[in-house]
Symmetry: C2
Subunit: 134 residues, 2 copies
DNA sequence: CAGTTCAGTTTACATCCGTAGTCCTTTGGC
DNA sequence: GCCAAAGGACTACGGATGTAAACTGAACTG
């Protein structure tokens, strides 16, 4: 079932990335290979996590196949194995499937109804629509 | 911190509703006051859960403030305390905040890029946009 | 060469979630 | 009035998650 746009297997971690893990992924998506210490330095500020916590999250992400490690001297450099756009896409699809019967329009309607759409958003979406209709 | 659009307290369970719990909520959103047995009958078909499982989920939802119980004879009738639209709205907002920097347009762009938009969706969204611009 | 320090691995633990068994109470039937 | 059935409450338990300490091995330093 489900689409699964076939082709290039390799990635696709299947395992879901948790909230805390996502924060780590974000840091690595921002800048590609980083050591645990680097990640910790960046995240420590935002979330106040200790080094062990960050290490655990990194290890779990590696176990889940979401990160790759490259030995560099006596430590590892971590690199995302899944693209942010890929993750974001599958999460969006999940939401749309779970709550909007798989249709994007109701989601959009909902955002509109809750005034979640800024003027900028509207303008941008119109632009995108024009693209799509071309 | 975070927004928390203050005002009318009362509802707003704060506690997050899990995946399995959501299935129970869906049944109750479909038809308002139902007994545990009713819910179980409906869900049993779809998810194959046993009665105890459904009862546990109902109890947890009550504990979370997502459901209200009304004594009816010697059993309880369960009623949603939060509206589906409310839940759906907050989940959508969560996604947009977490993954798209709080902007709806990138979400939309993502759905478009992944061909998640049907022609119907596009037509409907255009209609909504027209509404918004009025 | 030994000690310190750094980095990854293992272990830990409380909580939540999915799933379900068991128990207790109440109510209805005989 | 007593027993069985129905229904809610309590308990359970493995896995995931958030958060972190302790352990271990390797490298740099004096």
């Amino acid at each position: 079932m489900s689409a699964d746009q076939g082709s290039a297997a390799a990635e696709a971690p299947a395992e879901r990335i948790s909230e805390a893990e996502l924060a780590v992924m974000e840091v690595l998506w921002e800048e590609a290979p980083q050591s645990a210490a680097d990640v910790c330095a960046r995240i420590g500020k935002a979330r106040g996590w200790s080094m062990p916590t960050v290490k655990t999250l990194l290890a779990r992400l590696v176990a889940k196949g979401a990160l790759a490690t490259t030995p560099e001297g006596r430590r590892f450099l971590y690199t995302p194995l899944i693209a942010r756009s890929h993750y974001v896409g599958s999460e969006s699809r999940r939401l749309v499937d779970r709550l909007f019967g798989g249709r994007a329009a109701p989601l959009f309607a909902n955002l509109a109804a809750n005034e979640q759409l800024s003027d900028e958003d509207i303008a941008e979406i119109e632009r995108l629509l024009k693209e799509l209709r071309k």
